[in-house]
Symmetry: C2
Subunit: 472 residues, 2 copies
């Protein structure tokens, strides 16, 4: 039987005809356990190829060898949806000539599908594959569950290389990406470190502040008018968000409410809610922990979705468009409800939108959950350093010290006031916080753009500037 | 929740902006039970839209109202992979100005994907759908199983309308086509007549001639050198083909051979082979009977594939490329092994390639199984009236009176001679047949091209001429 197996990553790169100035792409389902991006980039560098654009759905600490490839001009432009703090700090210090292009988890596949960000060679880390390239994230020693972020790359890149450490006979059953999109298959010893790919189930917070926030969050949802049969929900993997999900689950079970679906990056807590009957289905673009991986592999109610189906604004529709409530985080939020998830309190890049602005745009109720202050720095500011998600898409900020509703959503405010929740104006919340922390210091900002925040529709939303005094 | 539900087919057509000269598309999974094509075309005609191109994966007897739409210039060009005899007769009589464009089940999606045959509005008959357009063929009163032929249409048409008689709450679980491709959803009382959609299991032949052919076919496979672990197989739904599958199953079970996959239009007999352990998987682009529909719904080893994954020559690969043996039919085969499946013995159109030339091109062993003659007309001719599949892709012709091997496959011939099978030159088989039937009459052929046979790579393979003396 003909196969697409080639002997090495080196050989695959050669066969793909990768040349200076082209674009390579990677997905991030192996998260901080990923070996593939580094393996591939090392080979590319060894072949003397330079000036590449790297389109990676997210970049983690494990990808820090990328800094060397930037210094050596192997990579000259980065397009990504999220960047961990180590890489982010270097970018903020100004190591790249071209600004990083930050997109969202919906905007990235949208721009790939409409041809705005063409990919020459996509490298797909596949926990299981067959010799013709049918592949899945659900099986194998490096199983990561959903491969949702890799679909756009596979469907639109000129050349597609599947890299696996678990080759099975043709045909692989229950593939996610099918052979008709794949050019070459390479086997390696390991595509990732299972410990970094998925964590054990994250613990819900035991911190009293976090529990108060979570309780407020659950009460906001319970009184929003949205918590009824058919309810749909997304939340993150932070301790307080998970605690909010736990409280919400209790309310739903007590009231006998059956939701329609849970969405997102899926954690074991969402799986618990599925199994308890809180939802009919889970729609999963990315698995956050082992319980989610086990569930997507074995439970037909738990379904993989592509990033297009998850959140693309140019798809005919995306699941975010049917979402009732999303709980999101923030490093800062300003009095116009604009949210920053890209930079830390010193202005260094340490994150990215991911699906933040996609879900905020789609959901009927977009909630930010955050403590009033972190390390004596208030969460509410006059103006965020970087707009990751526009304030028009945020409905409510929940902190331990009070809940602020966006004036655009007067009905919600009325409902929450009636429910006796501690509602206050966001400026009032800011002042209350500053009475504890003191006024925040002013952040020094350089005059060079080191990253562009591209909104999900492809327009420039904001720019991130270098942090001065530490340029290398 | 926002939905894509619109009140009627009429409304969907209006919202899609369908205009004179555009292209509409349909899939044929509901086969001779399909109501949707006629319902839609009736509405289009009522709206006074004319000069349309109809791209339909296949056309059955139930679609004969199309003749009226042709006469009234609602439809001016037909693109299809198969046309039943009633429609075919009218086309052969010359009722259309523009020749019908016949493609293959692999060539059609290839041409759609590469933009050679753009579709303005695709109408997708969906046995189950949700209000956002996620849809499946596996569930509902009109269940047809796989929706494989509709994927290319959904992914590439400018507008996509899902028409269902079984609307379920969002999100549909186990969708085939996802909401990110769908513009509108329409509910109707019934999308089809279940009796016409799938038959009960077709009976294997009891005709002695058919049984001899089937036995020969199984012996050819058994002695081909291909029947070993990992073996893959496709066969049609005709009585003799099914009998061949039955004999093959017995041989595989006796020898303890576990094949890799069964492919194609899937019948209950292939499901039997899966369940008996003859194959690990079924790859299903279309279900032929109720047993196949039940199996694809409930057995994870039985998997839906798109027409691109099935057979597209411009996909990175297709399953046909990994196929060992295919059993195919013929209305005629000539001494160069060219096969005709488009026209009958009088030159009238009564079929089409379907996946014939795709599987013949991909399979290691392409076998034609046919009786020496039908109604005293020999199967072997000097030159087929129409080349549906080029002789270079056919390895062997099996009849009740002898087996002819294409000289291009000398190794196969040697193997079969050694096995003691009745091998003869195809000219010898022709003469042997003509000694029984007499020399065939010459077919009168008109001088007007009524259909073009477009090979899977997009090139013109042959032309079909009108049948003279009966023009209307």
């Amino acid at each position: 039987m003909a196969t697409k197996l080639v002997s090495s990553i080196q050989e695959a790169i050669r066969l793909c005809g990768l040349k200076d100035g082209m674009t390579v792409s990677f997905h991030h389902h192996l998260r901080n356990g990923d070996y593939v991006l580094n393996l591939v980039m090392e080979e590319i560098a060894a072949q003397g190829i330079r000036d590449l654009t790297m389109n990676a759905s997210s970049l983690f600490e494990t990808h820090s060898p990328l800094l060397g490839h930037i210094e050596n001009h192997v990579v000259s432009l980065i397009q990504t949806d999220y960047m961990a703090a180590g890489l982010g700090r270097a970018i903020s210090q100004g190591i790249m000539e071209k600004p990083v292009q930050f997109r969202t988890h919906g905007g990235r596949p949208s721009d790939i599908c409409r041809g705005a960000t063409p990919i020459d060679v996509a490298f797909i880390a596949a926990p299981t594959a067959d010799p013709m390239g049918n592949c899945s994230g659900k099986y194998g020693p490096s199983a990561c569950g959903s491969l949702g972020y890799a679909f756009a790359d596979a469907m639109h890149a000129k050349k597609v290389v599947v890299i696996t450490d678990n080759l099975v006979p043709y045909p692989l059953q229950d593939w996610s990406i099918s052979e008709d999109f794949v050019d070459y298959v390479v086997t390696v010893d390991a595509i990732g470190n299972p410990k970094g790919i998925v964590s054990g189930t994250t613990q819900i917070t035991r911190d009293p502040v976090g529990l108060v926030m979570a309780s407020h969050a659950a009460q906001v949802i319970a009184n929003s008018g949205l918590l009824k049969d058919g309810f749909s929900f997304q939340t993150g993997a932070g301790g307080a968000s998970l605690a909010a999900a736990k409280f919400l689950k209790d309310i739903m079970l007590e009231k006998g409410i059956q939701g329609s679906f849970g969405l997102g990056g899926i954690t074991g807590y969402m799986v618990d809610m599925l199994q308890a009957g809180c939802f009919r289905n889970l729609m999963d673009v990315q698995c956050f922990d082992l319980k989610a991986v086990e569930s997507i592999r074995t439970d037909p109610r738990h379904q993989e979705i592509s990033a297009m189906q998850y959140a693309s604004p140019t798809a005919k529709s995306a699941v975010v468009d049917s979402l009732d409530v999303v709980i999101l985080g923030a490093t800062e939020i300003d009095t116009d409800f604009n949210v920053n998830v890209h930079t830390d309190s010193n202005g260094y890049i340490m994150g990215g939108s991911g699906g933040h602005s996609d879900t905020a745009a789609g959901a009927k109720l977009s909630m930010i959950i955050a403590p009033m202050f972190r390390a004596r720095l208030p969460i509410v500011t006059d103006r965020v350093q970087c707009i990751s998600t526009p304030g028009r898409d945020i409905d409510v900020l929940v902190t331990q010290g009070g809940i602020a509703v966006n004036p655009r959503n007067a009905e919600l405010k009325e409902r929450l006031v009636k429910a006796g929740l501690p509602i206050m104006d966001i400026r009032e919340l800011k002042e209350k916080t500053e009475r504890i922390t003191g006024a925040p210091k002013t952040i020094r900002r350089g005059d060079r753009v080191v990253a562009e925040v591209i909104y999900r529709d492809g327009t420039l939303l904001d720019s991130i500037y270098n942090v001065p005094g530490e340029q290398r």
